[in-house]
């Protein structure tokens, strides 16, 4: 069964204190790994898609990397506005149900203190 786990569950950083969030996955044939940001009470906002091991994507203070078993979301010099829940999702090889094709992790709640 395809699974996605994320760690830590929650992370508190001081403004400017860089860190990384982890997304570990087991999937029978990865088609893509997605990172989303979700603010409280709102829908997830798309950040990145990674397709193959070694790939990296950057956007402002965020950089996502991918290996064969996990992905990291690196946050450099974070600001309070980076506070949110960061969700990871994997898209697996096509199966009977789309629900089995796109699996979300539980998320990491990030708080950046001024």
């Amino acid at each position: 069964e395809d699974q996605v786990t994320q760690s830590p569950e929650a992370l508190r950083l001081q403004e400017g204190e860089s860190s990384s969030l982890n997304c570990s996955y087991t999937v029978s044939g990865l088609r893509g790994l997605f990172w989303y940001r979700q603010d409280p009470g709102k829908g997830p906002e798309f950040l990145f898609t990674l397709y193959s091991a070694g790939e990296e994507k950057e956007k402002e203070r965020l950089k996502a990397t991918l290996t064969k078993k996990e992905s990291f979301l690196h946050i450099t010099a974070p600001k309070p506005e980076d506070s949110a829940t960061y969700l990871c999702a994997v898209q697996a090889r096509e199966k009977d149900s789309y629900g089995q094709n796109f699996v979300f992790g539980p998320g990491t709640r990030l708080s950046v203190l001024p």
Partner: protein, 113 residues
């Protein structure tokens, strides 16, 4: 990316009643999806709504409880029927294809008393 809107943005309902949530997309899309996010939890897919065919429901979700309409390529509705407090969640619609990134609407926050 598509711009997605949902109505209502939030609602408070009494148990035993039903609520219909609307999802509007600014471009034609083949596949639309409905998710549920219970408090403190991640996203769980309820069903896939394809225009011109019956919705496909995931394990644990049934059409009688969550009927879905997809009358055209830019619009879909999800009804939460005979609600109970356990249905209190954020309901999200998204668009995308099997090989594409999914983009999400702003969500509908539902509280059932």
């Amino acid at each position: 990316s598509a711009v997605i809107s949902q109505k209502p943005s939030r609602d408070i309902c009494q148990r035993g009643t039903s609520l219909t949530i609307q999802c509007q997309v600014d471009s034609q899309v083949t596949m639309m999806f409905w998710y549920r996010q219970q408090p403190g939890q991640s996203l769980t897919l309820i069903a896939t709504a394809n225009q011109g065919s019956e919705a496909t429901y995931e394990s644990g979700f049934v059409i009688d409880k969550f009927p879905i309409s997809r009358p055209n390529l830019t619009f879909s509705t999800l009804t939460v029927s005979n609600m109970s407090p356990e249905d209190s969640s954020i309901y999200l619609c998204s668009v995308g294809g099997r090989q594409e990134t999914q983009y999400f609407g702003p969500g509908t926050r539902l509280l059932v008393l």
